[in-house]
Each structure stands twice: as C-alpha cells, then as structure tokens.
C-alpha cells in the first residue's frame, strides 16, 4: 500500500493545503452528522470521484480496501450488540419496524440481530469509511511540508507543525521498514502461521528491529536538523509558501455550504 504523498499533476494537488484541511474537517464532521446510509454512500462516491480527478484513484482504492476490515468489524459488532427492546429506538432515522431477525441464546450468551441493529451497523460501518476516505485523498495529494506550513499559518507552533509533517512523511518509511524486517526474518526461517504461540513469538522478532531502526532514524534526523540550523530563530520563514487562489476560496466556500446543509438536515429531522 502506498501511504504517502504521490506527486501528480491535478487541480486537487495544487489546492492550498489549508483548503484541503478545511475540506477534510468538513467531510469528517458531515459523515458524523448525516444519519442516512444512502447519503453516506453518495459522499463516498463523491470522494471516489475526487480521488480519480486527483489521479490517485488506484492507490486510493487500495487504501480503502485496507480500511474495509475495520469497517466490517464495526458493522458486525454493532449488529450483534444491538439488543432488542421492542420497536423503539433512540434515533428516529431508522426506517420500518424494528423486528427480531435472529436470536441465539446459549447460556449467558445472547446474540440478537434486529432490523434496527442491522441498519445501525451498516450506518456506522459506512460512517467509518466516509470518515477515512477523504483522509486518503488528503494524504496522497498534500506534501507533508505544505501541510506543516499550513498548520504554521494557523498559528500552530512550528515545532508541532513540523512534527506533524514529519509524522506524515515517515508513515511510508515505517511501512517499508516493516516489510523489510519481516522479509529479513522470513529469510532466516521465521514462519507466521496461524498458531497463536508462534504469533506471540513473531511479535518481538519484528518489533525489536523496528524500534532499533526507528531510534537510529530519529537520531540521524535530529543530527541533520541541528546541522541545518533548526531552531536558530523563532521567526522561521517560508521560501516557497503554497498560494491561496480563487479556486481555494471557491472550494472552501463549497465545503462550508456542505457543512451548513449537513447541520440543517440534521436539525430538520
């Protein structure tokens, strides 16, 4: 899986990182506000369209495939954990009557699947997906240092902004490290089979080298930063700041309209 900035030529890449940050926040909030699985699905389709426009459609799909497992877990857990209390539910948005679809009682263990529970599970699964989907587009289209610069513009202290940018930049490096460590240990006969014991053995064998590499990387990075005058002055400048164009203003405008519409739709119900 690709997990970092992908340089492509698209208008989404050229948008100011602040614009994209606003969009990310709006999309996240709206996916929490919207009570309707169908609307969430529409949002997902829109994000997919944006990913395609940004020419990161394929890596975005791979990213979403990785997000699918937690989504399924959320759905399944919520479906199984919704007890049946007659046909009343907290949210008015569930449609139809609440019916008991499936019931299994085995000693103290009670498994119930209800119509509302099913709806709730699907809603929450979709909510998770539509929450992470814009994040994927954001990560693939925003240079970490632009993200840091954007945070600085918001008066976030530069050290915090730089750390956030560096964290974004180091995600793909960490993934690469994990892949290499696993390969190095497999080459020395390590097997990751399904037995729990060997998995417990597997962990330190991978995590210890990973910590070793990360400590080395952190020290190297600290040395490189210091010798390049990091922290020499409190008034750090930016030589190539991202511009805020008319397109950005429009995109921010559209995002805010969507946010207001989302809030209104919720208030309406």
């Amino acid at each position: 899986m690709q997990a970092g900035y992908l340089p492509r030529s698209s208008f989404i890449h050229r948008l100011n990182p602040l614009t994209k940050l606003v969009w990310l926040c709006v999309a996240g909030s709206v996916s929490f506000i919207v009570p309707n699985p169908r609307l969430l699905a529409v949002m997902l389709v829109i994000v997919a369209a944006l990913a395609v426009m940004a020419r990161v459609g394929h890596p975005w799909l791979v990213f979403m495939r990785a997000a699918l497992l937690p989504a399924l877990a959320i759905t399944v857990i919520n479906v199984l954990m919704s007890p049946y209390h007659g046909d009343r539910m907290l949210f008015a948005s569930y449609s139809g009557d609440n019916r008991l679809l499936f019931h299994l009682a085995w000693g103290p263990l009670q498994l119930t699947v209800t119509a509302f529970g099913l709806q709730k599970g699907i809603l929450l699964g979709l909510r998770w997906l539509s929450l992470v989907a814009p994040a994927g587009v954001f990560i693939y289209t925003t240079r970490p240092e632009d993200f840091a610069a954007a945070l600085s513009r918001l008066r976030v202290p530069h050290s915090v902004a730089f750390a956030a940018g560096a964290a974004l930049r180091l995600i793909p490096v960490l993934i690469e490290d994990i892949v290499t460590v696993v390969a190095a240990q497999r080459a020395r006969g390590l097997q990751w089979d399904r037995r729990l014991i060997s998995r417990a053995r597997f962990l330190p064998v991978v995590i210890v080298p990973l910590i070793g590499c990360s400590i080395r990387r952190a020290t190297d990075m600290a040395a490189a930063m210091e010798t390049r005058a990091y922290g020499a002055t409190a008034h750090r400048t930016s030589c190539y700041p991202p511009h805020f164009r008319v397109v950005d203003a429009c995109a921010v405008g559209v995002s805010l309209v969507v946010l207001v519409a989302g809030i209104l739709s919720r208030v309406g119900t």
Binding site: G4, Y5, P7, H58, R143, P144, E145, G165, A166, R169, D177, T180, V181, A183, A184, Q185, R186, A187, R188, G189, L190, Q191, P204, V205, V206, V208, P209, G212, C213, R216, R217, D220, M221, A222, A223, A224, M225, E226, T227, R228, A229, Y230, G231, A232, T233, H235, R236, T237, S238, C239, Y240, P241
Partner: protein
Amino acid sequence: MLKDTTLAERSERPASGALTSALKVERLSFRYARRREWALRDVSFEIAPGECVLISGPSGGGKTTLLRCLNGLVPHLYQGQYEGRASVFGSDVAGLAVAAIATWVGTVFQNPDGQMLTSTVESEVAFGVENLGVPADEGRARCEAALQFVGITHLRHRPVTTLSGGEKQRLAIAGTLVMRSSILLFDEPLSNIDPGGASEFLAHLSSLRQAGFTVVIVEQRVRQVRTLADRVIWLEDHTVASDERCSTTSAPRAWLRFAEAAGSHEREDGLAGEVKRRGPLRVAPSDVAVAFEGVTFRYPYGPEVLTDVSLALEAGSWACVIGRNGCGKTTLAKLTSGLLRPTGGRVTVGGLDTSSHSSRSLCGVVGYVFQNPLHALHASTVKEELAFYPKNLGWGKDEVELSVDAALAAVRLGGQAHESPFVLSGGEQQRVAIASVISGHPRVLILDEPTLGMTGPDLEALRLFIRTLTAQDRLVITITHDLELVRHSDRVVVLSDGCVCADGPPTRILSDEFVAGVFGA
C-alpha cells in the same frame, strides 16, 4: 566553478584577530555517555581555510566522532565526557549552538536518506535558510544559486525518494550551501552510492575546492579521494596516528600504511593486476546452484523491474551482482531467496522451483544477509541472535550450539557472544548479521552490500571467509557497489535496466571502458 555570485559572498567570519585556521582542534578527548572506552584521545590538528583534508583510518577509530566534534553535534547532541577544545574560525564549538555553527560548517552525512527532512527537492534545499529566518526573496535566490551550483535545477519539483544516490548527495550539498557555510564536512560520501555516483561526486568535490571551500572528508576509500586532498589525517586507535601533506609525486605514508593493511587490495597497479582465477569454473549441470530461466518480475501495479533474466550460477563459486541504484539487484536477490516469486519464467535453487516450494523449504537452502543489520537484529545476546536461524530450521540443541560457536569464530566475535547486539559498533553489527545467517549453513549465501563501513583488514577477512565457503562447495552471491571487492570474485553479473547486460570474469568486466559504459561515469 561558481556560477553565481550570491554563493561567493559567504557568511562573515567572526573577527578575532588574524585567523589562520578554519578549524582547530586542541588536545580533544571525548567519551560517549555510558561508554567505557574513549572515542577520541588527545587529538590535535589545524585546518587552514581553503584546504581539502581527508580523514581516514580503520573503522571504529573515531572518525565519525571527530566529524561530530567539528560541527558541534558533540557535545551538544551526543553527550559525554569532553576535554580539550575544538574551534571554528576561532570560536569554541562547545560554547556555540549547533544551529549557529551550521552557518559556518555544513555537514553531508553518510546515509543520503537519513538526512532528508522534507519530501521534495525544492523544500529540502530551502530547509536551512528557512530555519535561519532569511526573508523569502533572498532565501529563494540562495536556493536557486545552490541548485544551480550542484547542477540539479531540473530536479527541483521531484520527490526526494525518486532521486538516485548521487543526486541525493548533491541535494544534501545544496542544502548546506544555502546557509552559506564555507566549511563542508563529508561523512563517508562514497559508501552509499554506485560507482557512477562516486565519480560524479569526485568531480563535484574538485569544483567545490576551486570555489574556495574548506573541505573535510571522512572516507575509507582512500584511493579515490587521494588525488583531490591536500592532506591526509590518519586516525587509528582513537587518536591521530599521522598527519601528512599529499604531494603530487609521492603518496603519503598513511596511504601506504592503508595499502599494507588492506593487503594487495588497494595497490596502485591497474584493476586487472591482482585478479587470479581460482581454477576453472565448473559447468556440469548438476553443479548449478541457482538458475534463472527467462525471469521477469514486476511488483503489483508497478513497472517491470526485471525483463528476461537468464542466468546459471555454479556451486562453489563467488558471483558479484553489480549495477546502478535501482537496476533490480535486490529484486534478483529476493527472487533467489524465494521471498518474491517471478511473474514470468522460472527460478530454481538447488533444483527446487521457487514458485512451487514454500519460502520455508527454501530458507534452509538460501541464506540472505540484508544490507542494514538493524533490520534483522532482535535478540538480547549475540549468541541468541545466531541461534535464531538454525532453531527455526528445527535443528537439535547440540547442533545449534556447535554451529553458533563456529559462526562466532568465523566472524571473530567470540568475545562478544554474551553482549547485546545493540551495544556493538556498526561494523560489528554487520558481522553479527552475517554470522546469524552463516549459522544455518545455507548452500547459497546472498550478501547485500557487505562491505559498508569495512576497512582493509575486515575486507581481507571477509574475502578469506567467502573463499572458505566456496571451498565447501557453497555458492556466494554478493550485491555490491564496491568494485574493489568485485575484483576478487569469480564472476561478475552486471544488471542494467532489468537485464543482464554483461556476465563474465572480473578481468574482462572490470575494464575501465566497460564500467564507464554501465555506470555512465
């Protein structure tokens, strides 16, 4: 040559009387916190502005620590017991912040990736000026000048990860030039780049010298840098063993000492001089240990890394795989070890098809030492680390014990058997990583860049060691940029653009024109 005047007017030197030295070290000793031995003992020397000095010596002799004393990382970032004095243009390093020293002293570190702090070329170059709070207009002008000076203006919008080793190094130089430092420190600049990148670097070094920079290079590959240096400081046993001027007529004694230490390894005579064939290569089909038949490989959704590779490597021989960064060398190694499977064609190892055998059944046959030892080291003692592989292969306790002891002796680490691999030096860790694969007695051994950070005696030992393995009818495959090592192998396979573009004994392959052709040097 300088192409822009903005770089020429470098930072003001602090005024403190008549300055004859750019860098001065007086009776400097340093011991890292929680270490018993001194990393430097009573080191003194002086470097005049505009001088080009090579600091060399065996690994673990204190070279990198010395560099850290010059740019202030010792004692500011790396703490410990510090005695004596190091000064830059007359100012005490210990009394200045590292960021302040950075405007006089620029550092290019050994690992090109480790020093990249942002994701594109342009922002990477600008990082230093931005930290100094230089106004954006002037900062951009400095960045332009620096990019132009190192000749990478055309790469300015490229992501850092897509650059070659040589390009990354030039970027690192540009990143220090923007701060107008007039002293440049290089830590092992040749160790991480391919031979093409190395000659690029050397050409660049001479233009830095002509532009009047003071240059200090820590490097073990003396032969290549020697012609450019005014002086060689030889560090051995944590102190200065010799400090001599280079003249054009005679090689300094330090250099001869090095040649001696390395055996015939670095002698002046041409590349073909020392190569001896060790008996005829056997070609009986039963002796083929690794065979590639029309192998193609691509990562999912990626471009083709290998396009049609056919190759047969015999047991009991030593083959080297060389080629530019990113030409598919590591992919070839991973295909051999069964960690990857070919998308087309067939790879057989000791008669087993890697596509139809699990990596578990192959891992007893092929041992693979990865480039960075930190990717493998995990155990609490060296001994446990070595036992990991044979235990995974399901060996009995006594067998494991015997094989671990043999492997320890082979890499001369018997004394460190009960220490943690994480407290060892980089070179020792490398040897532990090699031993931790040897202990499983693989019939095919792959070594990825085994000579990083190794000097003369270590190299000699490695070569002898490889020879004992081939004498036991094992196949050794080394992936390397180190042409000095390649000279001693039986066979050289040159990869270029995913194909084998040359294959033969080193005498033929290492002719200068040929290497130049492959590496574009």
